[in-house]
Symmetry: C2
Subunit: 243 residues, 2 copies
């Protein structure tokens, strides 16, 4: 096999397909651009110590009762009784500094949960694009880009980010072996790179957020490299990767 020593990059477009793509030796990059993984990167950039991602609202409530600060979002809305939703702007305050907080979201925390047994789980967003790709390029290991999507459906913004990572990684090393999902998104990103906001114009979740007056959030989530940190899963905690 001529491809034996190549490093493979693949994109999975839905957490529901994760088992089809699963490879316990892969690094899995969790992607939920609007807005969970953007919010997580922001929180670490602004000094949060640890995040406990949980799949259900009940679990988040349990932690909340124990005194933790907790964020909860479903269907793009912040849930009542919680401290934060999943807007990056919720995670910029002094109140999160050096704290451990809890987070549950419609799609992103589900994807983290699905991938938790892989070799390593890291968090990706445009906010940490370059630092993430530089780190990935130095690991001699297959990479799975796991798009959180929208309720297990393909979504445009997560896929576009998978294309951004693929494109950047190819700049480091032309010898990656790309799965079909990466091939497609590599092409797509080339069309979108100059103006992602325009490219996403008709994307379903963007429309959802625009209706909620969250255009400012969308713009923020598409800004590259404003939070140059790599959140990584260690046991039940997301922490900031130390270099």
């Amino acid at each position: 096999m001529s491809n034996q020593n190549k490093i493979q990059i693949e994109t999975c477009f839905s957490p529901a397909l994760y088992s089809t793509y699963e490879d316990k030796n892969s690094i899995v990059v969790i992607i939920d651009i609007l807005r969970a993984t953007s919010a997580i990167c922001t929180a670490f950039h602004y000094g949060v110590d640890k995040i406990i991602p949980v799949a259900s609202v009940d679990e988040a409530l349990e932690y909340k009762k124990q005194g933790y600060l907790a964020g909860a979002e479903r269907d793009a809305f912040k849930l009542e009784g919680f401290d934060f939703g999943n807007s990056p702007y919720d995670y910029m305050g002094e109140n999160i500094k050096n704290k451990t907080i809890v987070l549950t979201t419609t799609n992103g925390t589900q994807a983290i949960y699905a991938a938790k047994d892989s070799y390593k789980v890291v968090i990706g967003s445009f906010l940490n694009l370059d630092v993430l790709c530089e780190w990935l390029s130095k690991q001699n290991r297959n990479i799975l880009l796991l798009c959180s999507g929208w309720k297990n459906k393909f979504n445009l913004e997560d896929s576009l980010f998978a294309g951004a990572v693929t494109t950047k990684l190819l700049q480091y090393n032309q010898k990656y072996e790309l799965g079909d999902g990466c091939l497609a998104m590599n092409y797509l990103y080339q069309m979108a790179e100059k103006d992602p906001m325009k490219f996403l114009n008709r994307a379903s979740h963007k429309e959802r957020l625009v209706k909620m007056n969250l255009k400012k959030d969308i713009r923020y989530c598409l800004m590259p490299n404003t939070s140059p940190v790599i959140p990584v899963l260690e046991g039940k905690y997301l922490v900031k990767m130390m270099f």
Copy 2:
């Protein structure tokens, strides 16, 4: 809701996600470009009367024992003891004329099975692209483009065809509401349209078939409009749609 009366087009990239996209009132277009749906279109163009698509090899064998001509493919190989594989070239002979034949394939017949309870199931391939899109454009009904993929993974050639259908339908009517999968593939098809063979150059399944010396098959499966028929599911049979 301003979009209430719009006709929706959505793409599902894996039969494993079908339940997520399912809408019993939709027309489902089954797509397995390399090669099941291309072979099915070819067979009807060359005069087959009915095709019984079955999910398992055992079912196909049962029919074979009853005297049916039967095609069976797994992992791109024709299975021993069967009359055909899934190459379109297997379905051009006089021996299939006016016959009912049985077919099982790795991906395509699984997708047909998954969608069998929807409003209508039709078969799509580049070979019937224009006649299919013209017919779809006249139905006042949501459309789901169901890519068979490769063992439940996203594949490039099926997705590209979903982009071709989306692009053609938008030429008939700009007012379709596109799901994110269609938006992405609409962009992708614009990049690929001029030279799909080159575009698919690095696609995983194309590589698989090229290794098996099946380049001629691939070329044939990418030729638009050579089999201008629409196979449609009626009960357990695929038949040629009459206009």
